[in-house]
Amino acid sequence: MLRNYLKVALKVLLRRRFYTFISLFGIAFTLVVLTVAAAFLDHVFGAHPPETRADRTRGVYMIFMSGPTTTRTMTFPGYAFLDRYVRTLPGVERVSLYTFQEKVVTYKDGARIEAYRKYTDGAFWQIMDFRFLEGGPFTAKDDEERSRVAVLNASTRRRFFGDEPAVGQSVEIDGERFRVVGVVEDVSYLRFTPFADVWLPIGTIKNDSYRTAFYGNFMAAILAPRAADLPRIAEEYRSALERLESPDPARFTVVRGGIDTPFSMLSRMLFTRKLEQNRSARLLAWLLGLAVLFMLLPTVNLVNISVSRILERASEIGVRKAFGASARTLVGQFLVENLVLTVVGGLVGLVLAALVVAALNGSGLFPYARFAVNHRVFLYGLLATLFFGVFSGVYPAWKMSRLHPVDALKGALR
């Protein structure tokens, strides 16, 4: 039965090539856009190296302060705050503090070399799973002793040393000399927790004032022993904030925040009415809503084409009905036809999406980003295809089943 449906579907599709082309164009285009968008989101928010322990890693990215002269200000936490309230959280495997990357410029043989610099500690390298091309990370001891050591990414090594090995060599960053201890693979600019060109120990920050700063330029990564411990740690953090003593009660007295994934952080920032709440579910709903909204026009278009095609086949349907085919059989046949069409379109779309993604990777618009149509994105794409196929196939199928045999045979339909 199903084989027959498939055979008929293919025959029908090949008979009117122009209609098939229009439908495939619409489906493939829609899926290219959805798949590329999914690849982008997956690249930014998915669990990719070096953040391989994403399921039990969370971050403290922002704090929200309010008080007598401060109305709900959102800011990066400072070193003093994180050291006192996050590093001391009980039941945590590791905590790492790091700065938001900042661009520093070095001049070498008259050429300008730009590099993003991140200061961090020894624990950072144990929470993140960097792949070292040579050498290794710096340690907590390096940080404590303020050793002038640096980890570079592969591109920065090439800029400074060509293709030579760099470990043991000295490199000038922002006017100071550092000894290279390790070189890691490039990390995407869009992964803002691990991203940098150059990683240096916090202890080597030139000006010690960061040590007493309550808010400023730092963030923290928290590694829990197990993913199941995260809710408890979040609760500990919340109660620590409630007990917090403001260092400047004249300006702010209340500090709020949470431990976040990058996605939940974004949701807090976008839905700012309740800064202190995690709004991931709402952000996800918005994204899905956007996807459905985007699919509306292609769907209407596809429905339109399908309906036109049925009308053309009215006499065929009339004959089948006259010979006793039930409405259910006909609906089944038409849905299968539509699904075959969408699956073919989906495959074309995925191939095209892979090309678009390759072009994006080659364009250098996002430094070091390697977008990929991986199995997860492929799955999303396939799901979207099926949804799209059923979504756009139901109305034409219903319409088809409603054709009256007599009208259909005459080929007249209002």
Binding site: F25, V105, N207, L297, V300, N304, R414
Partner: protein, 409 residues
Amino acid sequence: MIRQLVKLCWNRKRAQALVVIEVFFSFVVVFAIMTVVVYNLHNYRQPLGFEYKGVLNVSLQSLSDVIVDSGGRPTAATEDSRRLLREVKGLDKVEGVAGMAIPPFDLTGMNDVVEYEGRRFESYNNQVTDDFATVMGLQVTGGRWFEAADDALAYDPVLINERLERDLFGAEDPLGKDIAPRPDPAQARGDAAHRELRVVGVFTDFREDGELSGPEPYFLKRSRMAGPEARPLYNLVVRVRPGTPPSFEETLMTRLRATVPGATFQIDPLTKMRGSIMRLKLLPLAAAALIAGFMLVMVALGMVGVLWQSVARRRREIGLRRALGATGRGVSLQVLGELLVVTTAGLLLGAALTVQFPLLGVIEWVSDGVYATGMALAALTIYGLTVVSALYPSWLATQVEPAEALHDE
């Protein structure tokens, strides 16, 4: 003729509904893109208010760290700032140097409330040193620019841009007026004394976010570099002499580091900063336009398909018309006319929706003129699309042979 066409379409309204919906969605999409494009083009053609070519921006990151640390109290960093200004000015390739709080072509901004006779606005602002107008080529059109003698004033002198002048004062003379907001009595704290912001001049504009930013109210405060109220600087702008090679950047960096050892400096030509902010703003627009373009191609192809089918199905009707003396031209005009009627119905629906945005003031930064232009361009695009997609099917309709068509079945 038109009434007849409308009637023909109305008779097949169920079949046409889908095309109407399609036109409706296409119109909304094209309208959104067109409005943003027109808005950006309109902004791009407004004067920037300053001259960015030949200016280097120097960010004084570590000095600002000190400011955060000390809660804004003057520190050694203030003395460092003064020395930096002096040293950079002394370089022979440098025409002028000024300090400012927020660099141009940077996405951050300072936003504060200003008030005059009950009119309150949020206005972007910046804090700059006395040489700023010369270095950046600002045009002062009324009153005066800051001067060294302002150190002795008991109030804070400010210059406002023409937009803020219009918003706040209308036709009134702004010079000498105070624009500091009155404290809200409910939240007033005893020790917060009112500090006057007195307008001493008007300048054309300083659109710090570049040509694509919208018209914004803006004012400039004076950075005091002497006396107890002096504060460290966050940022310098340096105008170099024409013909200075790019390698001067390195010379400048060496001098900066020698002046304040241990501080972090970042030098960027303003042309480069402008380039990256342009890219940042245009990239999403380009992506959206590309997607919308493909969508339109898809819609056009879809319409061709629908029309083709409709012509094929109405062969007998067309054949009859031809037999009764209708010309090929008349028949093809009918096909096109019917599509135009359906398109118009979709456009009217779309316009009914989109006209709500300016009426409700949902997106208030877009002016009504920009909306209207966007809507007109979107309607034109859709009509153009309709005509193009009707070309082939309407030609097909003229090829119907009356004898054959009537013989059908």
